[in-house]
Amino acid sequence: MQQIINFLIRYKIFLLYLLLLFISLVFTFQSHSYHQSRFLNSANYVSGTIYAFFDNTTSYFGLREENERLLRENQRLRYQLYNKKPEAIQPLDSLERNYLVVRGRVIKNSYADQRNYITINKGRKDSVEQDMGVITTRGILGIVENTSNGFSTVQSILNEKSNINAKIKNSNHFGSLIWDSKDYNTVQLIDIPRLVQLTIGDTIVTGAMSSIFPENIPIGIIKKFDLDTSKNFYRIDVSLFNDMTNINNVYIIKNLNREEILELQEETESNDQ
């Protein structure tokens, strides 16, 4: 007993080091494979408030450009609205809605890491929840991962773990959108079958398989394509519409049917077995 205690006292610093290293490695590898840690994320009160304060003072610099961007979006939406055929306009019945939209601001952005997360200034009290889609006026941005009362973190499409259903706009062939963590302007679309005709410059949009994003949200255009190692599928480099280094205003989208869809899928899967 005496020897054990002596041993502990002699190596107490080494043991303390091992303990702390072990804790940090557990936190790290947990989020390698699954979700970001519930505790270690910037959607908490302290970091959120500091980032929001900093954003308040720096947001003035890009104001003119941001206004121009929003104006252009309004122009496009008004054009669509006024040129719609009258019978196509649905009554604004709250039972017929499929999506809710919340607006937000990016208060922290990163794109230099392997797993990039964005922090936005909307949280649970603005009814933002995990697994809601986040887009900008130009295209897709990411998926909400953690929320606190006033803030949330968004798993950016520039994240190794990101995997989003996407398709080619003209032909409706769909695949998965991933990121190889090399270039922050380019993401990869995989699992597109070999027989599909591809042209450089084709538009890529979100697919209908996703229960997170509405269909046809722009993502980017085809920059380069090549067959993958199995020679049966294409691996397409997609250059993004979004400038990921300069993002200010975002929309957070809630699919009101998501729970029902997930429930159905689960039911089908359990029936199969």
Binding site: L16, Y17, S24, V26, S42, I50, T153
Partner: protein
């Protein structure tokens, strides 16, 4: 005297975190270079202090940086390792000298100070990027990031340490 060093260290702790997350994490020089200047805390921390508290403080420092920058616990792991290795690095750089009561960082030569800082940063960055990328297929990427970002960190830390150097007695 004890109170003033305590106060200075608390101030450094807070300021280095804020500078790191609000300024240097947004630098994105060449698209990926974000120098890590908070390693200076370990460079400046008094030598004669209790090692247990030192390791705990460094773990907390790394963890707070992680919380702000959404990097899981990578900074905590890297920082706690260099905190544990610091005495060995010092013995390597300064020789047995540093165990004397009168030893001060300022009394060491410029070359020794530089080596000490560089070793801290190199070990920190290699551990950080190995854990971040964590695949043997990407060893080259680990090297590239460690070298590029490590160089940037060393340059900025040298600038900072000469800017805020304590007065020579």
């Amino acid at each position: 005297m004890i109170n003033s060093t305590f106060f200075i260290n608390v101030l450094r702790f807070v300021l280095l975190i804020l500078v790191q997350v609000l300024v240097f994490n947004r630098l994105n020089f060449f698209g990926f270079i974000n120098p890590m200047v908070y390693v200076l805390f370990l460079y400046w921390y008094p030598i004669k202090k209790n090692r247990t508290t030192f390791i705990l403080i460094c773990f907390l420092l790394g963890l707070l940086i992680d919380v702000f920058s959404d990097t899981m616990a990578l900074n905590a792991a890297a920082t706690v390792t260099i905190a544990y290795l610091r005495p060995s690095i010092m013995r390597f750089v300064f020789g047995v000298n540093y165990e004397f009561q009168s030893f001060k960082l300022n009394s060491a030569t410029k070359a020794q100070q530089f080596t000490f800082l560089a070793l801290l940063i190199v070990v920190h960055h290699v551990i950080y990027f190995t854990l971040e990328i964590f695949s043997f297929a990407n060893v080259l990427l680990i090297f590239k990031k460690s070298i590029a970002i490590g160089t940037a960190s060393i340059i900025l830390c040298l600038l900072f340490s000469s800017l805020f150097s304590t007065r020579k007695e």
